[in-house]
Each structure stands twice: as C-alpha cells, then as structure tokens.
C-alpha cells in the first residue's frame, strides 16, 4: 500500500502499468473508448498508420498527478454526482476533525449544503480548529499529495494529502468555481480569505483571491466548494454520513443544514472528553515493502546500515539491527546508499525472518467502549447496547485495533437486515460494503446462535444496528477513495472476535428478555382465560355471579402462586 502511494507521489509515466494491484484501480473503459466507437467497423490493419518509436516519443511526456486523477476521478470517490457531494463533505469534515483533535480542541462543526441549481451545490464546512498558516493555504487546497499526515505514522482520518484538494479540483472541473477558504490561527490574528484553483497540468495552486476579511470565530477554518452533484436522502446519503460521524465521534458537535429542510439539525455532543492523543511512531520493519526500503536507504542521511535500521524504524535495537545484517550477510557499517538491488532483497528477507518486537500501540486512539455506547445511545433509540474494544494487534508491522458495538430492539426495524455501520479511524465507510473485511467478518459469523435470524450468505436480520470500527496508523484500504478495508488475516480475526463478543452479550440479553416476555405472557394468559372457566362452570352448574367471581379469584390466586413458586 505504502509503496503504491509512493509511486503515485512521483509523476506517473504513461508507459508504466498500474502496479497498485487493487481491483478498484482499474480504469473504466468509457474513459478511453467512447461508446460509439464500439459500433464502428474495425478498419483493416493494413490501412492503419503505424507508430514508430519516434512518433510515440513525441507524445511521451510526464503526466501530472492532478491530471491523472482528474481523468480517473472515481479513484477518489467522485464517480457520480451523488457520491461526489458526499465525498466533498466527507473530505472537509474529516480534515476539520483531524485538525481539532491534533490541536486538542473539542470540535464544533458547521456543515451546510446549499442548493444553487438542480444539480449544483455549495458545500460549506466550518470548524473551530487551529486554523491554517497563511503560507500553507494555497498548497493545501490547490495541490494534490500535499499534507501533514502522510509521512507520520499515527492514527488520523486523512492519510494521503489528496482529500481536500481533490474535492476542490472536482468542483473546479464541474463548475469552474474556485475553492474558497477562510482561516484564522488565533484571536488577534487576521482572518485570511483565499480563492484557489488547482492547475491540473502542473499540480500547483493558482491563487485567484487573497485578502484579509472580517470573520467572527477566534480560530478555525471554513472551506467552501461549489460542485455538480445530487442530494438525496437514504443509504449512502450525506445525512447518513453525518449521523454516523456523530455516533463514532461523540465528542464532536455538528450543526448540519441541508436543502429542503427548515432549520439546521443540531447533533449534540455526547461527551466532552477528547480521545487520547495518538503518538506518531516510526514504521515497523515488518510493514516495509522492498521498493520503499530501497528508496529509504537512498534518501536517508544515515551512513551506516545498522544505524539506518535503528533510526528509521521502530523496535530495532542495535542487537536486532546486527541480527538482521548478519542474516542478510551485510555489514552493519555498510553504506545504505551503496546497497545493491540483490543485497536489498536479502536485507528485506532478513527483516522478515528476524524476530522483532511488535510496534508500540500508543499511535492508536480507539473510541473506547464507553464512548461507543454514548454515541449509540445518543443517536439510536434501542433497548440494549453493548460495545467491545479489543486490545491492539498488528498486521504487517502496522498496529491496529478493532472495536464493535451493537444496539438492539427499540425503534430499530425488526424484520429487516441489520444495519451495519463501518468505520475506519472514526470515519464512516459508506460504499463498497461487500468488498470490505468488516462486512466479510459479519457475514462469516453464525448469528443464529446469538438469537438472530440469518439466511445463508446474508447479513443477519433483526432489530439490530452493528457498529464496527478499525483504528490504525495505516488503515489498509482497498483503494484511494478509502471505502473498504482489505482483509488481512490478522484484521479478520480481530473483527470476528469483537463481533462474537457482542453477539454473546446480545444472546444473553435476548434470552433474559424472552424470559421476561414469557412471564408477561403467562400473566396475561391467567387474566384472559380464567374468567372463561368461571363462565363455563357457571353455565353448567348454574351458580350465582358472586360464586363465579369467587371461583375466578381463587383460581387466579392458585395459578399465580404456582407460577411464581
């Protein structure tokens, strides 16, 4: 994963094939082949003008990353107008939450979706975060792959440095309008207002407007993007995303307004405790790919291989570094820059065959059982809630942690499939449910043994909402649009264990609940049917009404007693 992003970081050359390996990276055919082309008869090959190496060379040139993504916008979650609106809101909100948390501020967000035309909207997201230094604003919003999170390994919502500039680029492409940013870094400082457009050829920002403005908030950032989109409620909607964000982030408060509704929706804070601050860690040797390792050796200022391993990676002591070098038959004092390709491969293999301590897990900031419960209780009206936070675990050198929550009964619909909410680093995942390790783990569990109904190969059915969160310094998404988590065996295992624990708690709740219901039923049986015994016996024996009443009361009493006995 890291390697594929590193590759994208450099301009992609046209002759290079896509090495990402994830299925979502396939280019849609429509891009390269207009539909009518299929109808046309194929010309005989003889009459076609042949290319020469020279003629091709004239057309071979660097492709800018922004040009690449503007042509392949589906890779970033802008495949259709409805999803484009959601992705735009999501990128801005994720950034705001990240910024607030990094600065230790309880987030208060304003999210506004204003309809301009039938299929044109203006998205405004405002936060009370630390603001952005004036000089950085143009690059952050007008250059792809520019960000603060890519090079640090710690849990954050954003990780690639693409998100918000891609949204701005999409807006520009579909409406011609600039992205507008207002930001202030503290009281007494000026508020800067920028209008920025991305130059896709150069992947560089173009500042259209830059001025100081009157702006009330003491600190924070406001981002406005106009884009072509459609707004619709229901599954995959912006409303869903906001609601789920509120559940997974009970410490944040959101004021949310959408077209066609009278006033804004206030999603209150459920807790005023900020999540623990995740610590940045160095990459763990197990997670590094060969290509990345080679590049790191080339770029490192450290001149000795042993010291290089110790400095660039976590959990490498001098003893471990020695062990690795010994295993690779390389000298610890060798210069990393002069390691040959074959040697690098040996080193890579040696790393993976050496026992290295698991990475520190303080780079993680799970939501926590209590907070999950408070988020669920805040937004879902149910009878029973439960949550589980597993202890941290590691896949390919990356620490991760799985959490699951479950709400049952109440107003949840009883005869439908359960609602599954997936989260990665507190961000709701809405698309590609079936490709996601989380859904696969849910499907892999026999929910019937926990008291739900489930048909083969389907989600369980019942009045249940499932909440699953995976937190990691590097969440292995299946694509850049960050919609589905890849199914590493370690991750799948943790998911299963967390879900099973929730399932067991649910099962015991259902059991006691059923007992109570049965108890209730029995009581009502006595009330309902004993009078009929009185009626029948009176009809047959012809005694008085008071005798009938006495009989009924006696019988009720006898049965009540024997029932509770």
């Amino acid at each position: 994963m890291i390697a594929s992003f590193m590759d994208l970081g450099a301009p992609v050359s046209s002759s290079k094939s896509r090495s990402g390996g994830s299925p979502q990276l396939d280019f849609p055919d429509m891009e390269s082949l207009p539909p009518e082309a299929k109808e046309e008869p194929v010309e005989p090959p003889e009459t076609r003008k042949r290319e020469t190496a020279e003629s091709m060379a004239r057309r071979q040139r660097e492709i800018s990353i922004s040009e690449f993504f503007s042509k392949n916008r589906h890779l970033l979650g802008f495949d259709n107008p409805r999803k484009a609106l959601l992705t735009t809101v999501k990128e801005a909100v994720d950034n705001s939450l990240d910024a607030c948390e990094d600065a230790g501020i309880l987030p208060s967000l304003k999210v506004e979706i204003i309809q301009i035309e039938e299929e044109r909207f203006r998205v405004c997201v405002e936060d009370n975060g630390p603001g952005i230094v004036k000089a950085q604003i143009p690059k952050i919003f007008g250059k792809l792959l520019y960000g603060s999170k890519f090079h640090t390994l710690k849990q954050s919502r954003g990780q690639q440095g693409i998100g918000i500039s891609a949204a701005g680029m999409y807006g520009l492409l579909t409406t011609g309008k600039s992205i507008a940013v207002t930001s202030r870094t503290g009281p007494g400082k000026p508020a800067h207002y920028y209008e920025i457009q991305i130059d896709t050829r150069k992947n560089a920002p173009q500042v259209i407007t830059d001025r100081v403005v009157e702006w009330e908030p003491p600190h924070g950032t406001r981002v406005e993007i106009e884009l072509a989109g459609t707004y619709k409620k229901g599954r995959h909607s912006v409303d869903d995303y906001i609601r789920q964000t509120a559940i997974a982030n009970p410490h944040c408060e959101i004021v949310f307004s959408v077209p066609g509704e009278d006033g804004p929706l206030h999603l209150e804070r459920g807790s005023s405790v900020l999540p623990p601050e995740p610590k940045a860690i160095k990459p763990h040797p197990y997670g590094v790919e060969l290509g990345v390792l080679i590049r790191m050796m080339k770029e490192s200022p450290v001149r000795q291989l042993g010291a290089f391993l110790q400095k660039e990676f976590s959990r490498v002591s001098s003893r471990v570094a020695q062990e690795i070098c010994g295993e690779a038959s390389l000298k610890t004092r060798a210069n990393p820059r002069s390691i040959a390709a074959g040697e690098a491969e040996r080193l890579y293999r040696a790393i993976n065959s050496t026992k290295i301590m698991s990475p520190a897990t303080n780079c993680l900031s799970p939501i926590g059982e209590e907070q999950i419960l408070s988020g669920l209780k805040k937004e879902i009206d149910a009878d029973f809630y439960t949550a589980v936070t597993r202890s941290p675990s590691v896949y390919r050198g990356n620490p991760f942690q799985v959490e699951a929550g479950l709400a049952y009964g109440g107003t949840l619909p009883g005869d439908e499939l359960v609602e599954l909410m997936r989260f990665a680093n507190r961000v709701p995942l809405q698309y590609q449910q079936s490709a996601c390790a989380i859904s696969k783990a849910v499907l892999g569990i026999d929910w019937r043994s926990y008291g739900l109904s489930q048909s083969k190969g389907a989600l369980p059915a019942g009045p249940v909402l499932l909440f699953v969160h995976i937190a990691s310094a590097w969440v292995p998404f299946t694509s850049e649009s960050k919609e589905a988590v890849a199914a590493y065996p370690e991750i799948t295992r943790e998911l299963r264990l967390a879900l099973q624990e929730c399932g067991r708690k649910l099962a015991s709740h259902i059991r006691t609940h059923r007992r109570a219901a049965e108890e209730q039923k029995k009581r009502s049986y006595i009330e309902k049917y004993i009078p009929h015994i009185g009626i029948a016996l009176r009809e047959i024996l012809g005694f008085s009404e008071s005798a009938e009443n006495r009989l009924v009361e006696t019988l009720k009493d006898v049965l009540e007693r024997s029932r509770t006995a």
Binding site: Y525, K528, Y529, I533, I535, A536, I540, S562, R563
Partner: protein, 394 residues
C-alpha cells in the same frame, strides 16, 4: 350388540363410568344419544372441577390418547379397543387456554342437549366466536377440542349435540330401509331398488333404522365411479346384493349403517377398494375395526364381519392390471402399517399381501379392470371372485 345401543356405552368400555346413569333413557327422542345421562356426566365433571378449585387444588381432566398407538386389536371382539393410556390436562398457566376452551365446549354441548338442538362442527366453531379471547381462530382447533370432549365423556359426538357435516354413503339394491316420518312418526319404507340411476343416502343418524332384505351379501365399494357402473348395469339384480358406496374412508354413520344391517340380517360384507396402501390400511381397516382417533367408539363403528374382495395385490398379477408406481407416501403408509397397525400385524395374510405390494412397488385402481373391457368387472372379475369368498383377505 344392536340392542345395547348406546345406553350402556360406558360400561361397554369396561369402566364403571361415573357419568353413566344406570337407568335407560328414552332413546326415541334423540335417537341413540342418551341425552340425560350425558347431561349428568357433564354436571358431575363440572362439579368435580369446581370443588377442586374451591379447595385450592389444580383441577385435572383425563383424556384417552387418541392415536393408533393407544389401541389394541381384539380378534374375538373384532375391533380396535382403546388401550389404557390417557393424557392428563392439569389446569396450569400453560394449559389454561385449552382448559377454558374445553369447558366452554362442554357448556355448549350441555346447552344443545337441554334444548334438543344440534350444531355441526363448523357451527360450533362459529359459536366460539362469541367467546372473546377463548374463541378458536381456526376450525381444526375447535374440532380437536370437540374430539377431546367426545373422548373425555366416552360418547359419540352426536350424543353431545354435535353432528358431522360429511355425507354417510350411498346405497342401492336389494334393500328396504324403514325410517320414520319426522312429523307424524309414521314408518317410511324406502326401497333401494327404486332409485333408478341414483341412490339412497345414508343419514347421519342410523340407529332408528330397520331393514328388510333378501340379499345374499353387501358389496361395499370405495369409489363413486365404480358404484355408478355397478348401479347403472343393475349389478345388484344379477348378484342379488346390496351396493354401498363409501366415497373414501367411511364415515361413522356409514360404518354403523353397514354394521347394523349386516348384524340384523346376518349377511356377509365384502369390500371392494383400490389395490393400494390407502385402500387397504385406511379405508378397509377403518371400516372393519375402526380408527385410532375415536377408539372409544370403535365398538359401534366397525364392521368385524367385513372381508376383503379386492383389489388384492395378487389380483394385480392375476388380472394383469395396469398400474401406477407407489408414491413415497404409499410406501411410507405400507411400511407403517406393517410396523405399527395392530390389525395388519395380527394377520399374516395382510403382511404378506402388503409386502407383495411393496415388492412390486405398484398400485392398481378398481377402475383399472376396464382395461379388459368396460363391463369386465361385472361379467368376469366379480363373479370369479365371488365364487371363492373363502379366499378373501381377512
């Protein structure tokens, strides 16, 4: 047998029943149903329950288990007798609904008897719609409760005022049935030779009927189709017999009619049904020895003198009849009969016959005889068979 009628029904079942009064009842008024002693039985049981409750004890009702597993076959007596097993229904939270429904059904019966009224099973089901929470949602529920009540009092449901809806069966041939005009009480002579291509219908209650006949035997037929053919060609004239169509498993009235007729006139009963497990184990067996469901009544609703004319499994071979393969249900029914049916198990001939059927894995309908010509059954099959009645299956 006939003379005993239903008046001593309790004693006939071997228990000195607390419900059954010793004194005889005017049978004429309600035909066979001894209204008064049933009434007394109802009162007695209600009294019993009432007392128990006032003594703060949980009342119990005992019902004979109504299934084939709870009957004994007595070859000498000739019918399925109820074995001792009873299910107890103690009034608890779990049984309170059925208990209430049973008592209300008993109360309904009491009302019917007192008013000399009757209700069909379906009508009883509709009456229950007035019982609020205790009403039945589906008729099978009320039928089951009614069957329970019937078994509880060890009486025929007609005696409780409940009458079946189903038709009794059709009769044609050398028989005069003597019934009585409802209004005048005058005897009515019904000549079963004079229905042309039609037939006399067996009434629901047959106890009051008397018979005159010079017939040599009674031929009891499973299907209306075969009955029609024999009637149309006046087969009864040729064979000097009485033809009775059962139309499937014989109703209680039909069994009782044949039984009384055969008993009082001392004539043999030959049964002619399809050659398949259903014809043998359900239709013929029920006619001859009764059913598992109402075993307390089998004594009266059975025809022990019946014997099986055809279609036998051997007939299928001998007459080279066209066949159908046995279906899974047929095979299961046949195997069940060999394993669990006390009547079949008692008769080696039947076990052999059913095993032959299973081995051939085919069945043949009565009407398959038409393969050899439409009237082959009249001209050849029946005469051939009737020449050797001693070879009929038991």
């Amino acid at each position: 047998m006939v003379a005993r009628g239903f008046r001593t029904i309790g004693a006939a079942n071997g228990k000195q029943d607390r419900f059954m009064a010793k004194k005889s009842v005017s049978a004429e008024k309600r035909g066979p149903s001894g209204g008064k002693n049933v009434l007394e039985a109802i009162r007695a049981s209600a009294q019993d329950i009432h007392k128990k409750i006032l003594a703060r004890k949980k009342p119990t009702m005992k019902f004979p288990v109504r299934s084939l597993s709870n009957v004994r076959y007595h070859p000498q007596r000739g019918f399925f007798e109820i074995a001792g097993r009873k299910k107890e229904r103690t009034l608890t939270v779990n049984t309170v609904k059925t208990f209430a429904q049973t008592l209300r059904m008993v109360s309904l019966s009491k009302e019917l008897i007192e008013n000399d009224d009757i209700a069909t099973k379906r009508e009883a089901y509709y009456v229950s719609k007035n019982w609020e929470e205790a009403r039945f949602n589906e008729q099978p529920e009320s039928d089951t409760v009614m069957d329970d009540v019937e078994a509880y009092f060890a009486v025929n449901r007609e005696q409780l005022g409940f009458i079946p809806e189903e038709k009794g069966g059709d009769v044609a041939g050398r028989l005069v049935v003597i019934d009585h005009d409802r209004d005048t009480g005058k005897a009515l002579r019904i000549d079963c030779t004079r229905f042309g291509s039609g037939a006399y219908s067996i009434p629901i209650s047959v106890e009051q009927l008397e018979f005159e006949t010079g017939a040599d035997f009674i031929l009891v037929i499973e299907t209306a189709g075969m009955f029609q053919r024999l009637v149309k060609h006046n087969y009864w004239k040729k064979a000097n017999c009485i033809l009775i169509s059962m139309g499937g498993v014989p109703t209680r009235a039909c069994r009782r009619f044949i039984r009384r007729l055969a008993d009082s006139k001392k004539i043999p009963v030959y049964v002619f049904v399809d050659g398949d497990p259903y014809g043998i184990t359900n239709i013929y067996r029920t006619l001859k020895v009764g059913s598992g469901n109402a075993a307390h009544l089998n004594e009266f609703f059975c025809v022990p003198q019946a014997s099986f004319l055809g279609i036998t499994p051997q007939d299928i071979v001998d007459y080279r009849l066209p066949t159908h393969p046995l279906k899974d249900v047929d095979i299961k029914r046949a195997r069940d009969a060999i394993k669990n049916d006390p009547f079949i198990r008692h008769h080696k001939e039947w076990i052999r016959a059913i095993e032959l059927l299973l081995k051939m894995s085919v069945r043949a309908e009565q009407q398959a005889l038409a393969k050899h010509g439409l009237n082959y059954v009249i001209d050849t099959y029946l005469p051939e068979k009737l020449r050797r009645p001693e070879r009929f299956l038991p």
